[in-house]
Amino acid sequence: MNMTSTPPLPAWGAGGPGSEPLLAVEDLHVEFATRQGTVKAVNGVSYSLYPGETLAVLGESGSGKSVTAQAIMGILDMPPARISRGRIRFRGTDLLGLSEDARSQVRGRRIAMIFQDALSALNPVFTVGSQIGEMFRVHQGMSRRDAERRAVELMDRVRIPGARQRLHDYPHQFSGGMRQRIMIAMAIALDPEVLIADEPTTALDVTVQAQIMELLAELKRESDMGMILITHDLGVVADVADKIAVMYGGRIVENAPVHDLYRAPAHPYTKGLLESIPRVDRKGRELYAIAGMPPDLLDMPPGCAFAPRCPYRQDNCVTEAPPLYRIGPTRGGACHYWREVLDGSHG
């Protein structure tokens, strides 16, 4: 069987590049004022999401992947954070230009988010039933009784066994996986058009992770919701994403349809990450390791942020930051030497 016969997924979802994206982040810059100086957390990030699509944003701690998501949700603490440039367009409207009132109409209702740590995201002193029901009472003015009925339906939908009996339980009475289901129930309560999942399974065991990822995939199949999956795990991405944006030092260094990226990465950082994964055929041998460490966001190098660690580095990498070169109809790579990286020849 030919392994390359799998047709690449359309990178732009069902709508195609001509149609309107559901959500488009354009040239976003976010800074944080700290005592040590200005931390440039996000430096010109652009990505788009179409209905029914799953976009994975892959990066390590400090890459800016979560800050971008918080900017979309409008939950950044400002100050110390400041959005210094850029737009976030949701169905054509720039969210950053809206009043706080208008934004709260979007937040939670049309764009919803789930977090890594469900225990601290849920209120410990209210029952889960009242927290799920609150979505309906606050946003739709539903009566307590109706809200409770809808909460049970939702708990069934996210497969919490014995939903009716567990309605009056508190978050600490649930396991980690069940708490994550409760948070998913709250997020999908109002049928959002975009669901942002920030490391939704990082705190969970692998067998529970598999359950949660399956649940998310199922919920997505049932609606035309677009999903942004923020993660550091190349395995989780490969399982569910349609397209990927890889972030490093507050920038997107590569974006591509999922099959293209795993088959032939165009950025040395992506390539290094893929090569450092332990695999059967690498057993007993030294793992490929990316040298050095992630950049200091307080003191970003003028050129490419990855240059100090890069095996393809040339003189101009240290002085000129590479733009996101267009390397195909649906691909971009922010490396001056993406051709060499794509060919697999080490510089």
Partner: protein, 338 residues
């Protein structure tokens, strides 16, 4: 990783129950968390034994028992034939020199008020006979160099180092007394992906150069496979399967091992729709009240009446060359590309 035949660490029927008590004035025991409940294995010289399992399976309690940091309820842990489980005082101190721990979180396991030199050299304060006072600084610098840190940074503090470097500091401290065994409890799971490979390579190199034996406890199955010669799978305080890495990953016989392997996300999107995935229902039962018979039976798709009545011991079973604890073992290759 040439493991020779003799066992350097022998663990026999190790049990740790944490009492559950009730009452303020008169405390009475109302039950027990059975964190580790009858674990036996050997670790050979120069070998790496991986221990995998999910949270609550008892793998971290096992690490503490091996180190003599917890006293077992029953059972024995012998290092080079000397018992650590019942040892006290000077005897315990002597046995412990030979086994050291590398912890998960390099951010909380290093004292922020001590310099790197003091942290790495602290074992010499407890075991002054290991290095004469005048020689300690030189030894600490040699250790820093051994783990790939700059020996001139001996007077710096932990916050001046990145996560990966801090983990190296923890490893250097573990090596100070020249132990033969290192217990690694999730040594890379707190690190960024691009840093994990550096630390794994370091551990492999140290093993080769110093002839160390590792007990490598982790939840990341691909990391464990990479570094281990043999692997044990834990569920609710018991080993359910134990064998060479190729047997556990290539020919798993216990249903839990199969489910665990099938749940690992594979970093390759090719053919993802056709992949077999055994999704377990529900959560593991509480270790305070484990099911009768086989502990996995409540989530097992093969469970029959006998599984509730008789506990399957960990032993060689027909059709396999490694030990498993299932009444109905069946080698089933879970096709995985990791």
């Amino acid at each position: 990783m040439a493991a020779t035949g003799d066992a350097i660490l022998e663990v026999r029927d190790l049990v740790k129950h944490f009492p559950l008590t009730q009452g303020v004035l008169v405390r009475k025991q109302i039950g027990a968390i059975k964190a580790v409940d009858g674990v036996s294995f050997d670790l050979r010289r120069g070998e790496t034994l991986g221990i995998v399992g999910e949270s609550g399976c008892g793998k971290s309690t096992l690490a503490k028992l091996l180190m003599g940091l917890e006293r077992p309820t029953r059972g024995s842990v012998r290092i080079n034939g000397r018992e650590i489980a019942g040892a006290r005082g000077a005897e315990l101190k002597q046995v412990r020199r030979n086994i050291q721990l590398v912890m998960q979180d390099p951010y909380t396991s290093l004292n922020p008020r001590m310099t790197v030199g003091d942290i790495v050299g602290e074992p010499y304060e407890i075991h002054p006979e290991a290095a004469p006072r005048g020689d300690r600084r030189r030894r600490v610098q040699a250790l820093l160099e051994l783990v790939g840190l700059n020996p001139d940074h001996i007077n710096r503090y932990p916050h001046q180092f990145s996560g990966g470097q801090r983990q190296r500091i923890g490893i250097a401290r573990g090596l100070a007394l020249q132990p033969e065994i290192i217990v690694c409890d999730e040594p890379v799971s707190a690190l960024d992906v691009s840093i994990q490979a550096q630390v794994i390579n370091l551990l492999a190199r140290l093993q080769r150069d110093l002839g160390l034996s590792y007990v490598f406890i982790a939840h990341d199955l691909s990391v464990v496979r990479h570094i281990s010669d043999r692997v044990g799978v834990m569920y609710l305080g018991k080993l359910v399967e134990l064998g060479r890495d190729s047997e556990i990953y290539g020919q798993p016989a216990h249903p839990y091992t199969q489910a665990l392997l099938s749940a690992v996300p594979v970093p390759n999107p090719e053919g993802r729709a056709r992949r077999e995935r055994i999704v377990l229902q529900g959560d593991p039962p509480s270790p305070a009240d484990p099911p009768s018979g086989c502990r996995f039976r409540t989530r097992c798709w093969k469970a029959q009446d006998v599984c509730a009545q008789q506990e399957p011991p960990l032993q060689l079973r027909p059709g396999t060359w490694h030990e498993s604890a299932c009444h109905f073992p069946q080698v089933h290759q879970v096709i995985r590309a990791f």
